[in-house]
């Protein structure tokens, strides 16, 4: 590198505020000696200010909706119908779709004679989402607070994600799922061997306010489920029964104690 290049590099770096401290003093001495150099620095800084004055206007433009949508995780985006792209139309479609899907599902289940018990639903829901490598949840663990607030609001009773780190399972995140009778909160956990557990919670539609632990195997998925304080819980995973029961007791104990302050 010849000295001209070096001076030019220093000039650029100085004007951009990036000149290394050990070179800055020498450069400032050169600036004081050579007015031409100082004039070039001033010129670069004027250029920078001129560009910024023009381009910053873009920062203050309102964001187009399609870019806001593009920033969201792909699985949480509503499907786009380009010809019906107005927000109102999208929302209306979503409402109709969810409600229609909800009732259609019931009808299909009844027609097929499919048991729609909480345990079976929990197992099927577990199997559906636990197998999803990239998008098992809608809101991820780093946003646990937002997740819990959202689910609490949607379910109409306080839900929370128990801490299962002591048994090797870390929270992945959660989502709202359409239970057969009640919207259901789903929390997913994963251990270092990538085995996944889900805890699902919903308000019990009718019946007992409390129940003992019950166990079922549905399609190879083990489910412990119980009712506590008129809320139904189901812990599902492909674990052996004793392991699942131990974790179920941990969950039960944590949910039964008041939430520790955060």
């Amino acid at each position: 590198m010849n000295s001209n290049t070096s001076i030019d590099d220093d000039l650029q770096a100085y004007a951009d505020g990036q000149l290394a401290p050990e070179r800055r003093q020498a450069f400032e001495q050169a600036l004081a000696r050579e007015p031409a150099l100082a004039a070039r620095v001033a010129e670069i800084q004027r250029q920078n200010a001129w560009m910024r004055a023009g381009l910053d206007a873009i920062l203050h433009e309102s964001l187009p909706q399609h870019l806001v949508d593009a920033a969201r995780p792909p699985a949480t985006r509503a499907r786009r119908f380009p010809r019906l792209a107005s927000a109102a139309a999208s929302i209306a479609m979503l409402v109709v779709g969810v409600a229609g899907g909800w009732y259609a599902r019931d009808a299909v289940l009844e027609r097929d004679g499919t048991p729609t018990t909480f345990a079976r639903q929990a197992a099927l829901t577990h199997a559906l989402y636990a197998a999803d490598v990239n998008r098992p949840v809608e809101v991820w663990a780093p946003e646990e607070k937002r997740l819990v607030a959202w689910l609490t609001k949607r379910l109409g009773f306080p839900v929370r994600a128990p801490d299962l780190n002591s048994v090797g399972y870390a929270l992945v995140g959660g989502r709202l799922v359409a239970g057969n009778e009640q919207p259901t909160a789903l929390f997913m956990y994963e251990n270092s061997a990538k085995q996944r557990l889900t805890l699902q919670a919903r308000k019990q539609p009718t019946g007992a306010a409390e129940s003992a632990f019950r166990y079922a195997i549905e399609d190879g998925v083990g489910v412990y489920y119980w009712i506590d304080d008129q809320c139904g819980y189901a812990l599902s995973g492909s674990l052996d029964r004793a392991q699942l029961l131990a974790i179920g007791r941990l969950v039960y104990a944590q949910l039964a104690t008041p939430e520790p302050p955060r």
Binding site: D8, A13, D16, W50, M51, L55, I58, A70, P73, A170
Partner: protein, 181 residues
């Protein structure tokens, strides 16, 4: 945690205005700029496993945008065979000068975009990343996959060229590439 974290949505959202600004300088056109931003965000989600959590999300997104832009430009250059492939040519291959400003547009913005549009895209990128995004030269080298020395020489040439343009504005009635000296 063993699960890969997703891209942090709030940070992604916060990066959009800067991505749009950069895209506007790259393409010179608001619609194509937003298409470029959208494509960048989509690629970001596709490639989210390649983002190392905790590292600079903005720099990573700019890298993606640069690559998308270069690929698009390569395609458009192949499509328009009469355009110069010379990296030091006087105008970007895919560049279009705004014919007329939309009514709400800021006049100065149009002016800055027009002058920057006269720089070759390679110089424009380096200049904007250094002067507007205030990225470190090393960071720019990473984003653009070029050596730091190349960053410095492009930056110097960009500034020199811009100086001539700004000091000797071509004016709307004159041929746009008139450069005295």
């Amino acid at each position: 945690m063993s699960v890969e974290p997703p891209l942090p949505h709030p940070d992604l959202l916060a990066a959009i205005p800067r991505l749009r600004r950069y895209a506007r300088v790259l393409t010179g056109d608001a619609t194509r700029a937003d298409d470029l931003v959208q494509e960048t965000l989509a690629r970001g989600w596709e490639k989210r496993r390649l983002w190392a959590a905790g590292t600079d999300l903005r720099a990573w997104l700019f890298t993606i945008m640069h690559n998308v832009f270069v690929n698009q430009r390569a395609t458009s250059v192949r499509d328009a065979q009469n355009l110069s492939l010379d990296a030091e040519g006087e105008s970007g291959a895919a560049w279009q000068l705004p014919v007329r400003a939309p009514q709400h547009a800021h006049v100065e913005l149009i002016e800055v975009l027009r002058e920057l549009g006269r720089l070759p895209p390679e110089q424009r990128e380096v200049l904007v990343l250094a002067a507007i995004e205030e990225m470190r030269y090393e960071e720019i080298a990473t984003v653009l996959s070029i050596p730091v020395g190349t960053v410095m020489s492009r930056l110097s040439r960009a500034r020199e060229k811009l100086r001539r343009i700004v000091n000797d504005p071509p004016g709307d009635a004159l041929p746009p590439l008139k450069i005295v000296r």
